[in-house]
């Protein structure tokens, strides 16, 4: 189930048309302050949906994820971080990490964060891999950065402009089907639900039509096209279904 939370524009500044940010339903519990900050102080249209992980979709091609300094510095987090970077870069042309200072509990003296060689190495590798890093002092700062990024993407014509509501059981089923396609994210799937007359029309589309109908990049459309026409090998089918049973 999805809900849209729209807030009246209460800022007197001349901001552009309201931008839309998709958040994962998990963000509602883990980043409640951030989500309400986005709505109240930045008049962002925050749409809650279920994404594959805890991140923010800022445009057709950009997503951002929050990490604290100590998360990036912890050796035991490496594997999880690598997976997050891979997943995000698989679904988005632009992946951002918002690096937040660790929150201090009231009454606790804020210990300054000690940067280790491992931490510096992680930064160097993230930058080299093309992850955009933004530095935040806390929840309020992060909300501002997310709103700024979404507005920047809007100015570049990449804002999420597809209808967010998916009504009816058949359309919901089609949405889930599109989401299960490799390399297809929530925004692409929304585009596809609204732009293709039927699932069959999508399946028989050309690369250009997929690119246009899915609101995606050319190379992503090419990958999707390849997947539709991919001829399964019966031996590999058996091994992959056997793997599933185990």
């Amino acid at each position: 189930t999805t809900t849209t939370i729209t807030t009246p524009t209460n800022s007197s500044t001349t901001t552009a048309a309201t931008v839309c940010i998709l958040v994962d339903s998990r963000c509602i519990s883990s980043s409640a302050d951030l989500v309400s900050g986005l709505r109240q102080h930045h008049s962002v249209n925050v749409h809650v949906c279920s994404l594959d992980s805890n991140y923010f979709v800022l445009s057709n091609r950009m997503a951002a994820e929050r990490h604290t300094l100590s998360e990036l510095a912890a050796v035991q987090n490496r594997k999880r971080l690598v997976k997050r970077v891979n997943d995000l870069q698989g679904l988005f042309e632009r992946a951002c990490f918002i690096v937040e200072k660790d929150p201090t509990k009231p009454g606790e003296v804020g210990r300054s964060f000690q940067r280790t060689l491992f931490f510096e190495g992680t930064l160097a590798s993230l930058v080299q891999a093309g992850v955009r890093l933004l530095w935040s002092d806390g929840v309020r700062d992060s909300a501002r950065l997310l709103a700024d990024l979404a507005q920047l993407e809007q100015r570049k014509g990449q804002a999420i402009s597809v209808p967010l509501e998916v009504r009816g059981q058949h359309r919901q089923q089609a949405l889930q089907f599109y989401l299960a396609l490799p390399g297809v994210g929530y925004v692409h799937a929304l585009h596809m639900v609204h732009n293709f007359v039927s699932v069959a029309q999508f399946i028989t589309s050309s690369v250009e039509a997929i690119q246009k109908g899915g609101g995606m990049s050319r190379s992503r459309a090419e990958d999707t096209y390849r997947c539709i026409r991919y001829s399964c090998d019966s031996f590999l089918l058996n091994t992959s279904s056997a793997k599933k049973k185990r």
Partner: protein
């Protein structure tokens, strides 16, 4: 002048090219202490350090930030001077004194210019960061996107299970008979019925062909 940066080849592994004015500085001393071989160059345009992975680094010190907006012009020149094939990194001294300027600086560097910004607290920390950037080159980046598997069998099996009435067994038998999504889509109702039975065939056919609009 600016185009000079491009004429200088990237340094070999384990080396770093620094602008001559950095000789004797805490950055260079700490870099050498960390096993990085530093080579000096008199003129590199607006670049302070050049790394083996073809990254150009511009260093914005606490003084630059507090002294005013002159460094912004330098940042713009830095962005315009380098071709898109090099990675442009801006290392910023984020200290107690420059802290208040950091948010607007970040907005300018990252959002407006689209450059990478890495804050450090002082030159020693900058050396630590630069040395890791030098040493991580050629080591294989753990975050570098692994080439995506071109074998779609497992994903297609899961994909078909999103169709109402299709579970693991039916998904597998559908792909055994039709091999691709496109062929499945072209299958008529009788063909589907022979394979998965009347009810499921109806559901699959409806799912694929019914209008969504």
């Amino acid at each position: 002048m600016e185009s000079r940066a491009l004429c200088i080849a990237a340094p070999p592994l384990g080396h770093l090219i620094a602008l001559e004015r950095w000789s004797g500085s805490a950055v260079v001393e700490n870099l050498q202490g960390a096993g990085v071989k530093v080579v000096f160059e008199k003129e590199m345009g607006v670049v302070d350090f050049l790394l083996p992975n073809r990254s150009c680094v511009l260093y914005v010190s606490e003084c630059d930030i507090i002294a005013g907006n002159a460094y912004k012009r330098k940042l713009v020149r830095f962005r315009n001077a380098n071709s898109s094939s090099v990675q442009e990194v801006v290392v910023v001294e984020r200290s107690r004194l420059s802290e208040q300027y950091f948010p607007s600086l970040q907005r300018f560097v990252v959002l407006e210019l689209g450059l990478t910004l890495l804050p450090v607290s002082d030159q020693r920390e900058a050396a630590q960061l630069l040395s890791q950037m030098v040493h991580s080159t050629g080591r294989g980046n753990p975050f570098r996107r692994r080439s995506v598997s071109r074998l779609y069998e497992p994903q297609l099996l899961l994909l078909l299970q999103q169709i109402p009435g299709v579970g693991g067994v039916k998904a597998s038998s559908l792909l055994h008979s039709f091999s691709s999504l496109q062929e499945l889509c072209g299958a008529g109702l009788p063909q589907l019925e022979a394979l998965v039975g009347h009810a499921a065939a109806q559901q699959i056919h409806t799912f694929l062909h019914a209008d969504l609009v």
